[in-house]
Symmetry: C2
Subunit: 486 residues, 2 copies
C-alpha cells in the first residue's frame, strides 16, 4: 500500500477518477505513514485524522455518484500551520496562538478543498515563520529525513512542509515564503516548490510575517505537482487587496518539456560565488543540461545583490514587529528566545531606514526586471549550503566560516524584495546524501515559464525521484483507531 | 489695460483665439502688475520677463498663422518654485537649491506649455514646501493681499500661488499639496484650487516633500479656471510610476451648474466643530445654498479623524527626512530654523510607528470611501481659522487658545492620507474682510464631480469675484526695460 504515497498528484487523480483507487485508501496510506514516521520526523503539529477520513469518504461517494470532480480530487495535502483552518487549531508554530481555532479557512485552503484536496493536518514550522532553520521549541524541531543519524535542520520556516513532502507524509503541502521559507526547506529536503509572484496568491487568513514580503505557495515532489496545486490556489481574492486580477493560466498545459531557444541567465556573482563547490557545480551542471536541450545560457549579474540583506532586514524586521508589538509587550516570555531577539531588532529600525530600504527595493526590482527583459528565466542556487545539524550556528564554506542563518537566506531574499516568481527544484546530492536546490526566477506573473523550465529539468534528471532514508523505514505499528491527533 | 488680468481663462482664450487681444498685451499687463505690486506682495521668487514676452510673441505669431492652438493658448500662469523649469532656477524656496537650474521641465510644466500657457515666473513658497504658513526667510514671506496694513500669512506652502492668483499677478498658478498646501493658501487668499486624486497628476520634476502624500494641482480664480488647467496637466506619465492610466475626462464639459439630486455629506464633528463661528456659519450657509439648488445635504462623520494628525505626522516627517537626510547632515545651517526643527522630528519616528501610521491611513481611506459610497461629495471648511499676522503662533478660536500651525492643516490632511480629490473655494469673508474657504471632497478620480459642485456654487455666489485691497493699488511706476528678474 505504501507505494501509493509516491505517486504523482496527476497519477493519483487519474486513478481516483477512474475508480481504480479510493480517496479513502490514499488517505489511509498517508495516515499510516504519519503514524509510523512522524514521531521522529515531527513534520506535523496537528494531524486531522478523522476529518481527513471523513473528507476521503465524502470524496469516494462523489466519485461513485459521478459528480463533477475538482483537479485535486482526493489528493491528501498538509498545510503549514499558519494557514487558518476552520475548526482546527492554527498555531503558527507558537505558544501564543496554540489555542486559536479559526472560524474560517484561509482563502488558499478553501480553494484547495474546493478543488477536492483533503487536508491531512497542520505542519511544523519555525515559530511565527520567523527563522530560516525551521526550529521550534514548542512542538519540537522537524527532523531532516535525509539523515537518520544526526538531527539536521529541515530548513525553514516551512520545515514541516519540506519534511512531509520529502518523506511521503503528504502528496503536497502549503508553505509560505518571506525570505526564502518555501525555497530553503525545498532545497534542504530535496523537494520542489514555487514562491509565486507577489499578488498571485491570496494571503487572506494566513498569519503574516512581513506583509510586503510574504508569499504563499505550494510544495510538492515535482514541479508538475506544484503546478497542479498552484492552479487551484492562485488568482484574485476580494479578501486580500494585494492580489492581482490577472487571469491564471492553465499551468499544467504549459509544461511542455520544451526549453529550446529559451534564454537563461545564470547568476554567478554573489549567487554561484557564495555557494560551496558542490552546490556551485550542481547548478552549473543544471545549466549545461538546459543548454543541451536547446536553451541559451548566459552569465548575468544582479549588481544590487549587495543591498539585499540590509533592505530585507529593515523591511521584514519592522513589519514583523508592527504585527507582534502587542504580544511582545504582554507575552514576551512565550516566544522562543531566537524569535524574540529577532523581533526586538525591529525596534531599532527608523522610519527613514525603512524608507531607504524600500528605495533599495525599487532598485533591486528594476534590476531583476531588466535582467528578465533579456532572459526568460534566471537560475541560481537556492541555498549556498546543505542541511546543517540542529544547534550548529556556523558552517565552513570553502574554508570560510559562515553564519548558518545568514547563509540560508542569502540567495533567496532578493526575490521576496522584488516579488518575482521563483521555483525551487532539487539539483543534486552531496556525497553524504544531502540534497541541494536550484532557483528558477521568472518575470512577474509568469509562473508558467518558471514551472515549464523546472518541469523540463525534471524530465531530464532524476534528483526529484530519490527518496530519503527515513522515508523507507517500515511502519513501527499498525495505526490505532485513536489516531495521532496532535 | 489692467482689466485684462481679471478675465477668466476661458474668456482670455476666446479673445486671443479671436485675435481681439494679443498674448503679448496680456503678458505685458501681468508683468506690469508684478512690477508694480510684487515688491510688497512677494508672490514671485523669479520673474521670467523676457522668456514670457518671447513666448507671448511666439503665441501671437501662432495665432496669426492660424495654427492649431492649445486650450490655454497665451494664458499667463506662474509656477510654485518647486516645479522644475528648463533653464530657469528652481529654488523650492530654499537656499540649498538657490542655484539649481534644471535641464528639463517638470511634466506638468511641459504639459501646460504644450497647451499654450506662458510662464510668468516662479512663485514663493514655504521653504521646501514644509510649512503651512507660507513663510520664507530666504526670499521674504509672501504678504496676504487682503490686509494692506498688517503683514498676514498667505497660507502655505503654496503662498506665492495664492497671492499671485488673488492679486491678479497670474491668471492661474501651480501649487502642491502634502498636508493642505493648495487648499490652505486658497482659503487664506480667497482663491480656488484643487488637490487632485493621488495618481491623477504627475509629480515628475517636482521637488518632493513626502512622496506618498504629495499632490500637484492648479489654483485659479474660479473652479472653471482650475478645471481648464487640470485638464491640460492630468493623466498618465511614464516619468511618474504613481500616475494612473485612467482616462482624463473633459472637465469643463462636466461643469453643468447642476447639483439637483446630488448627495452632499456635511462633515460636522471634528471639521465644522473645530472651526471658528464665522467659518462654521459660512460653510453651513454654503450647504444651504447647495440644498436650495436641489442637492440633498446630510451630516456625516469621519470617525477616524482623530487619527489623522498622528498618522500624517509620522508619514510626512519620515518621508521628508528620507529626502533631506544628506543635506541635513552637510548643510543644516542653510535651512530656516522652523523647517530644520521639523525635519529633525522625522528621526524620532520608528519604522513600526510609520507602519502603524500607514495602517491608520488604510482605515481613514476606507472610511472616506464608505462615506462617498452614500454621498457624491463631502464638504467641510478648508481651515478653521483665517489669515493670522506673520509671527503670531497662537490664535483664539471661540475662547480656546490654538496653535496656528496645527490649526492650518487640521482639516486638510485627512485627504492627503486618503488620496481623494478635494477642491477648495472661497465661501465668505470675515467682517475684517479676510476670506474663508470650503473643501469639496469627491471619490477617487472623480475630479469632475468635485469641480462641478465647486463651479455650481460659484454660479450662485460671488465670493470668488471680490478683489483684495492690495490688488487695486495703482502701479507705482511704469515697467522698466530691465524687468524684475528676481
Amino acid at each position: 500500500m505504501s507505494d501509493l504515497v509516491w505517486k504523482s498528484i496527476a497519477d493519483l487523480t487519474r486513478l481516483i477518477v477512474a475508480r481504480e483507487i479510493s480517496p479513502v485508501e490514499v488517505v489511509q496510506a498517508y495516515l499510516e505513514r504519519i503514524e509510523s514516521l512522524d514521531g521522529k520526523l515531527r513534520a506535523f503539529i496537528t494531524v486531522c485524522r478523522d476529518e481527513a477520513l471523513g473528507a476521503a469518504k465524502a470524496g469516494e461517494s462523489a466519485v461513485r455518484r459521478g459528480e463533477a470532480l475538482g483537479s485535486l480530487h482526493g489528493i491528501p495535502i498538509a498545510l503549514k500551520d499558519l494557514c487558518a483552518t476552520k475548526g482546527v487549531r492554527t498555531t503558527a508554530g507558537s505558544k501564543i496562538l496554540s489555542d486559536w481555532v479559526p472560524e474560517e479557512d484561509a482563502t488558499v485552503v478553501a480553494r484547495l478543498r474546493a478543488a477536492g484536496a483533503i487536508v491531512l493536518g497542520k505542519l511544523n514550522m519555525h515559530e511565527f515563520a520567523y527563522g530560516p532553520e525551521g526550529l521550534n521549541i514548542h512542538f519540537g524541531s522537524a527532523w531532516n529525513p535525509w539523515d537518520a543519524q544526526t538531527h539536521r535542520i529541515a530548513g525553514g520556516s516551512s520545515s514541516g512542509s519540506g519534511v512531509a513532502v520529502a518523506a511521503g507524509l503528504a502528496a503536497g503541502a502549503l508553505g509560505s515564503d518571506t525570505g526564502g521559507s518555501i525555497r530553503i526547506p525545498a532545497a534542504l529536503c530535496g523537494v520542489s516548490g514555487i514562491k509565486p509572484t507577489y499578488g498571485r496568491v491570496s494571503r487572506a487568513g494566513v498569519v503574516p510575517v512581513a506583509w510586503s514580503m510574504d508569499h504563499v505557495g505550494p510544495m510538492g515532489r515535482t514541479a508538475m505537482d506544484a503546478a497542479l496545486m498552484l492552479g487551484a490556489m492562485a488568482g484574485f481574492d476580494g479578501r486580500d487587496p494585494t492580489t492581482s486580477a490577472l487571469p491564471v493560466p492553465a499551468y499544467t498545459a504549459r509544461l511542455t518539456g520544451e526549453v529550446r531557444g529559451l534564454r537563461v541567465g545564470l547568476l554567478r556573482a554573489f549567487f554561484l560565488e557564495s555557494a560551496g563547490l558542490v552546490v556551485r557545480q550542481a547548478v552549473e551542471q543544471a545549466a549545461k543540461q538546459l543548454e543541451r536541450q536547446g536553451a541559451r545560457v548566459e552569465e548575468v549579474e544582479l549588481e544590487s545583490a549587495g543591498q539585499v540583506a540590509g533592505a530585507a532586514f529593515a523591511i521584514s524586521a519592522s513589519e514583523a514587529l508592527a504585527y507582534h508589538e502587542k504580544w511582545m509587550k504582554t507575552r514576551p516570555q512565550d516566544y522562543a528566545p531566537d524569535v524574540r531577539d529577532r523581533l526586538r531588532l525591529g525596534a531599532f529600525v527608523s522610519a527613514t531606514q525603512y524608507l531607504k530600504a524600500q528605495r533599495a527595493r525599487q532598485l533591486i526590482r528594476r534590476e531583476v526586471d531588466a535582467l528578465l527583459a533579456d532572459h526568460d528565466v534566471l537560475i541560481a542556487p537556492s541555498t549556498p549550503i546543505v542541511a546543517t545539524p540542529v544547534g550548529q550556528t556556523e558552517v565552513m564554506v570553502e574554508g570560510d566560516r559562515r553564519d548558518v542563518r545568514a547563509s540560508l537566506t542569502r540567495l533567496t531574499r532578493a526575490f521576496n524584495l522584488s516579488g518575482h516568481p521563483v521555483a525551487a527544484v532539487p539539483c543534486g546530492f552531496t556525497v553524504a546524501g544531502l540534497p541541494m536546490g536550484m532557483q528558477i526566477v521568472g518575470r512577474a506573473f509568469d509562473e508558467a515559464t518558471v514551472l515549464r523550465v523546472a518541469d523540463a529539468y525534471q524530465r531530464m534528471t532524476d534528483w526529484h525521484l530519490r527518496r530519503p532514508p527515513m522515508a523507507s523505514e517500515a511502519p513501527a505499528a499498525p495505526p490505532t483507531s485513536q489516531g495521532v491527533v496532535g
